[in-house]
């Protein structure tokens, strides 16, 4: 199975700053995704990270706030910009192995904004 590594695992940031989260997959996946999860709640898809092109954002999420890069098949970053306390959440990276029809998740990055 694919192993998805995220870092940092947690961070505390000041209002107005930005945090970049890195996601590394140990095998090639065709699709990578970024999710947000409030503690105790379900997962909300932020965007699909497309290799070498602009990410595809879901309704309510914009590139200026959540810029995403995916320079190759196994690596992606999510930046949460201009942080506010409302951005405090868990951010999860996910990769889909089309050959096995399985979507894997990283352990998440717990962000707290003061």
């Amino acid at each position: 199975s694919a192993v998805i590594s995220q870092k940092p695992s947690r961070d505390i940031c000041q209002r107005g700053t930005s945090l970049t989260i890195q996601c590394q997959v140990d095998s090639q996946v065709t699709m990578m995704f970024w999710y947000r999860q409030q503690p105790g709640q379900s997962l909300t898809l932020i965007a699909t990270a497309n290799q070498g092109s602009e990410a595809t954002y879901e309704s309510g999420f914009v590139i200026d706030k959540f810029p995403i890069s995916r320079p190759n098949l196994t690596f992606s970053t999510l930046t949460v910009s201009n942080l506010s306390p409302e951005d405090s959440s868990i951010y999860l990276c996910s990769g889909r192995d089309e050959t096995k029809n399985i979507q894997y998740f990283g352990a998440g990055t717990r962000l707290s904004v003061l």
């Binding site: 998805i4 699709m31 995704f33 105790g40 709640q41 379900s42 997962l43 898809l45 699909t48 595809t56 999860l92 996910s94 029809n101 399985i102 979507q103 894997y104 998740f105 990283g106 352990a107 998440g108």
Partner: protein, 114 residues
């Protein structure tokens, strides 16, 4: 049209009992229904999945029942163990569609009492 409704929100069961979680979907184009298990501080992990061409799938103590006409599916955890205490998410997607994305239910927190 994209919603997946999950119930109950939480569940307490005695060790050895049966945990039952129900999900209902609206989009008849969905053709792949996975269940994910998430432990605190971890990302969701695929537990078991079903396609609508079968009415039941069993893997160990975990069984999915699927009712295509009612657009409902459920997870049964037989002989529940304290180690099964976790949050469970049902999901649905169009398996072979380009850019297919998982739509998650709201989650069920299961507590198995010893």
């Amino acid at each position: 049209q994209q919603q997946v409704k999950q119930s109950p929100q939480s569940l307490i069961v005695q060790k050895g009992g049966i945990s039952i979680i129900n999900c209902a979907y609206e989009n008849t184009a969905f053709d792949y229904f996975p269940w994910y298990q998430q432990f605190p501080g971890k990302g969701p992990a695929l537990l078991i999945a079903i396609r609508p061409d079968v009415s039941e799938k069993k893997e160990g103590r975990f069984t999915i029942s699927f009712n295509k006409s009612a657009k409902q599916f459920s997870l049964h955890i037989m002989d529940s163990q304290p180690g099964d205490s976790a949050t469970y998410f049902c999901a649905a997607t169009r398996d072979q569609a380009a850019g297919n994305k998982l739509t998650f239910g709201g989650g069920t927190r299961v507590l198995v009492k010893p």
